[in-house]
Symmetry: D2
Amino acid sequence: MGNTFGQVFRITSFGESHGGAVGVVIDGCPPGHRIDLDRVQGWLDRRRPGQSHLASPRAELDRVECLSGLVNGITLGTPLTLIVRNQDMKQDHYSDLQDVYRPSHADFTTDVKYGLKAPSGGGRASARETIGRVAAAAVAEQVLAQLIPGFSVLGFVDRVKDVQADVSKASTYTRTDVEAHPLRCPDEKQRPAMEKLIVEAQKAGDSVGGTIFCGIHHCPAGLGEPVFDKLEADLAKAMLSLPASKGFEVGMGFASTYLYGSEHNDAFVKEGEKIRTATNRSGGIQGGISNGEYIYLRVGFKPVATIFKDQQTVDRQGRELTMKPKAGRHDPCVLPRAVPMVEAMAVLCVMDHFLRQLAIDAARGPHKI
Amino acid sequence: MGNTFGQVFRITSFGESHGGAVGVVIDGCPPGHRIDLDRVQGWLDRRRPGQSHLASPRAELDRVECLSGLVNGITLGTPLTLIVRNQDMKQDHYSDLQDVYRPSHADFTTDVKYGLKAPSGGGRASARETIGRVAAAAVAEQVLAQLIPGFSVLGFVDRVKDVQADVSKASTYTRTDVEAHPLRCPDEKQRPAMEKLIVEAQKAGDSVGGTIFCGIHHCPAGLGEPVFDKLEADLAKAMLSLPASKGFEVGMGFASTYLYGSEHNDAFVKEGEKIRTATNRSGGIQGGISNGEYIYLRVGFKPVATIFKDQQTVDRQGRELTMKPKAGRHDPCVLPRAVPMVEAMAVLCVMDHFLRQLAIDAARGPHKI
Amino acid sequence: MGNTFGQVFRITSFGESHGGAVGVVIDGCPPGHRIDLDRVQGWLDRRRPGQSHLASPRAELDRVECLSGLVNGITLGTPLTLIVRNQDMKQDHYSDLQDVYRPSHADFTTDVKYGLKAPSGGGRASARETIGRVAAAAVAEQVLAQLIPGFSVLGFVDRVKDVQADVSKASTYTRTDVEAHPLRCPDEKQRPAMEKLIVEAQKAGDSVGGTIFCGIHHCPAGLGEPVFDKLEADLAKAMLSLPASKGFEVGMGFASTYLYGSEHNDAFVKEGEKIRTATNRSGGIQGGISNGEYIYLRVGFKPVATIFKDQQTVDRQGRELTMKPKAGRHDPCVLPRAVPMVEAMAVLCVMDHFLRQLAIDAARGPHKI
Amino acid sequence: MGNTFGQVFRITSFGESHGGAVGVVIDGCPPGHRIDLDRVQGWLDRRRPGQSHLASPRAELDRVECLSGLVNGITLGTPLTLIVRNQDMKQDHYSDLQDVYRPSHADFTTDVKYGLKAPSGGGRASARETIGRVAAAAVAEQVLAQLIPGFSVLGFVDRVKDVQADVSKASTYTRTDVEAHPLRCPDEKQRPAMEKLIVEAQKAGDSVGGTIFCGIHHCPAGLGEPVFDKLEADLAKAMLSLPASKGFEVGMGFASTYLYGSEHNDAFVKEGEKIRTATNRSGGIQGGISNGEYIYLRVGFKPVATIFKDQQTVDRQGRELTMKPKAGRHDPCVLPRAVPMVEAMAVLCVMDHFLRQLAIDAARGPHKI
């Protein structure tokens, strides 16, 4: 269970990292939209490991294939299924770890939950599972581009360990700025220090974490439901469902908790006929509902659990042992690849809430209070 | 929409702050459990405003009434409905604000979304909406106490503005420690400074925010689903669905992002026959699934938006104006009352995932891999 | 579980027949619609027992009360909660049956399922549970009347035991025709024979069943989803969820299975600019989707299980015995009261699918295939 | 939307009849069960067209492929994905019908709903869509066989047009009896007349309908929820979601509506220590919950809409015309192939409710009422 996300734009993710394929079924994709599969492939390429010296060398091609839901590139309104075959299955790589609970991985908890050892590579806990989400978001983004003029989502690496990028210009960065370097941090000044941290961690067989910043431009006002399905609540769930994420904040987030109310409140002002906020400390969401301003959020990712140092652990037979991992596939820092994942979850949240709101708008009665 | 939380233990919240009643329907409560309504009332009393000089003087009695689902105090397995009548309806209190969009409240977004002005008191965005959640959690907690030996949840005020409590002993605090003072912070040393901040903010017509720490003791291993419904993802959603919350972290959270993997990983060790972790930086959840260790998390609450200072804003007719609020109901700091709300959402998450896992456990096949 | 119906217009029913109240929470009711609670009461009055000599003498007032979701009679878009207090609680009436499994009632299955004896009156299996559904439908009908010009639903008693009404004019009958007589059969010629059957069954302490015919006028084309949520599939579930229903058919239903395809197919024709069918054997639904024609269906209700004759059975302690019921509350025929229940479920299905389709319509892309 | 069925054992169907593949994702399949894909293939072979002279000559191989969820034939508890590639894509076959609304097909309603013409073969309305359901049921059946001793489901052709099989021995028929003849009617006496009807309809370019009878052996007592998700309600939805089905009845169904209550009630008796019913007119379900007896139901299928006779219709451009179909793929009678479809939906209903009940059983409290 728990492999479906969304209420109206509903995606179901499937596939283990070392099975036949990973993929997604999108139920609720509106009909009549043109979907460019090359654009979907572009998203997947950004998510893919092995893009640079900073990431895992797993040499997958990750070619997306559409099984249903499109005819001549146009959505039918029926379930749109996208898969990526698994090709680079070096199971032996992990074979000596089959029965070892790797520290801070999902091996132990998966065994407790399902009564079986996930095959090497981690089953559903692998970052490879995110292919389905990213592919679905790449579809959603194309539909939203048609339905909401100016809509876009942009994430970037905000901090690597203790090296913080300048986010004061976050809302002005472009995809080109971000993609200019495989690290996916648009701050050229901080980038070298970040890169150094990652390269040195890799040399040391260690890993580093950090944060991703993500902004949503031109999200219409009115999205999000007032109680459990607040827009920030669904964004929080979306982000914490990503592998290795440990924290989430929206708008000023935890920093807002250090302010007085009088310092944090966003005054309303007129801009022509439009009602806007003079500041945007709320991050574009008030009372769980978007207010039409720029939405921004931050997601914290722990240093990934796979490291190449000796670690104490226990195996499936309950024997204590010291794991001495040989070098293998290894992302010393998940952050650059996490950028499209964070963007994907943001797009999926907006898409779902946008469709939910369309029904409310269309069914609204004539009375005012 | 969006008024239902949970998959198997499914609660539906209803009621505006100034309508006839607020309440909750619980669908999926297991049969045959004794529920003490006085205990439910106890939870509601902790959530209620007006408990001390630190909180809003709204003098509600908030007596819980059970409409269905219990016979002689025993759950029937049918929908359990709890309501609290609204009694203290001083609508005039807000009457001069009827058409003003209060800064950083939900007035504007609610108007955009539903095409109507939320009645005074804020409709569903009011903290009063949380009565239903807390009542439902008070039921869930009694069922869980029966099903999971030792299970308990304890929250407390962790930080007010920049005054931080000592959390190094968080897992040893008791409810008595927390309830010893209306501020609900068990750290006696920091409490006076916290109290001073709140009292001064109130005098200044201002507000302060901070963080709540919440721990879950004796959560069984195996709860949470590997992909979208990770235990921490559902906890994140639960917490961000609370009014005024802006951030969430689990385990070491954002602090973990400053560590190397070798500093963060939790080694597995044997404790008798039991497999445990030597450290608990993960916060009791790995790969989205509980590992049997102490679960802990932190929620950030912004300073509440209601302040008694002049603020620039716009009214419903699009006129810019300066709001000059008269003194009214006003919590200068939501944190003490947010403690039972955070606990409630934690209990509801565990209850739902516990029931979900029961079916998996019971249906497990004989084969191992 | 299983107390919620609908995806977008989602109702949650609660309440036992002899608890504090029965009622419903409607989540997803569009904002800005005027709801006349007298009209809701009118629906409930039609559903209520004791309306005539043909029905149970249970003298409930069944006054509807609104707890949330309305301000000045206008929907807020928030959960709309309606309850009816239980007042006429003659528990003693059944007290000698507390431990007896009444044949063809839910007593035995409820005990197996929940491990407890449903209190007298039958708990959730009682027809009184349908109050929530009927109240919700009375709200939905008022919203649909605003959104779909000409929309209406009309049910009537189609057959009592083997006395069949003339349905050749079904689509022309009016509510006045149906309500002209407490039997709710608009066919004046067959009504006396039906009435005789019911009166004689009552005298004999026995019961009779039959069928309800229900028509939906001016349902827009395009409602219903092609696979599992076909419009007729959701109607079938809706109807079979009513107490005592045992069969469902749509359009010509089982009668269609005796025809050749060439006799059953509905030719398409033009009527002005509109595409219509020359005949309507499909009953207004093709491929699970409404085609804009008159929708009609039939629901079969068994003779109710409560009879006043000696019956062999077993009690909770496993002892065989002969039940010798004293006269009590007793509807010898559920059909007249089932008319508003069937109408209610039809309205709820259309309302939900209408809102679902609004989102698809609004999000449709520009491309055709 | 509407491509997902079930709450806990949740299947999502995808694929058009002429796209890349059709298939299903099963979310919620319990871990540790051995699944024999050959057995899944066996179910699909029974569903496949072209099995005999009685059915469509479409020569598909329909080989099932597993993309995820199994390792070495054992379920992982993760989403289990099964697909069947589409191979026999004679689109030209229908090319001259591209713009014609075939009478009583889904062409017109699909166009209204989605604003686009489904490609030839009917998109999701095609019987080929049922591959996913049947494959999922073939998995569920193997899990249920492990969890419920003696569990089995058996359907057969009950009536072709007006030729009725003897169902008095329905509960004693075996799969061998049913599969002995491609017509899938175990009544040897009536089979020739049924066959004659079908063969003659085919020769005449016409089609015939009829009914399927389906029985469920050894369904545990206690399955089904008391209100909306009654076992018969979910069965009704399941069956009416099959292409061409127009009616459903459970137990004595419509026949029960001709009886007196005293003739229909099922007396309880003891059989050793077990409580059973002396008769089984209810069909194994009382108050929406299974009582442990044999469950039986009947589904009515209209004569299929595809016939080879001239028919009046309208095309997409709104022109009236006479369709003069050339001979093509054509099942003159869907009934033999509908047998495994009906069985599949029955299995899926039981599987889902069985898992739902496991959680209730496991979480039951100690108190009795």
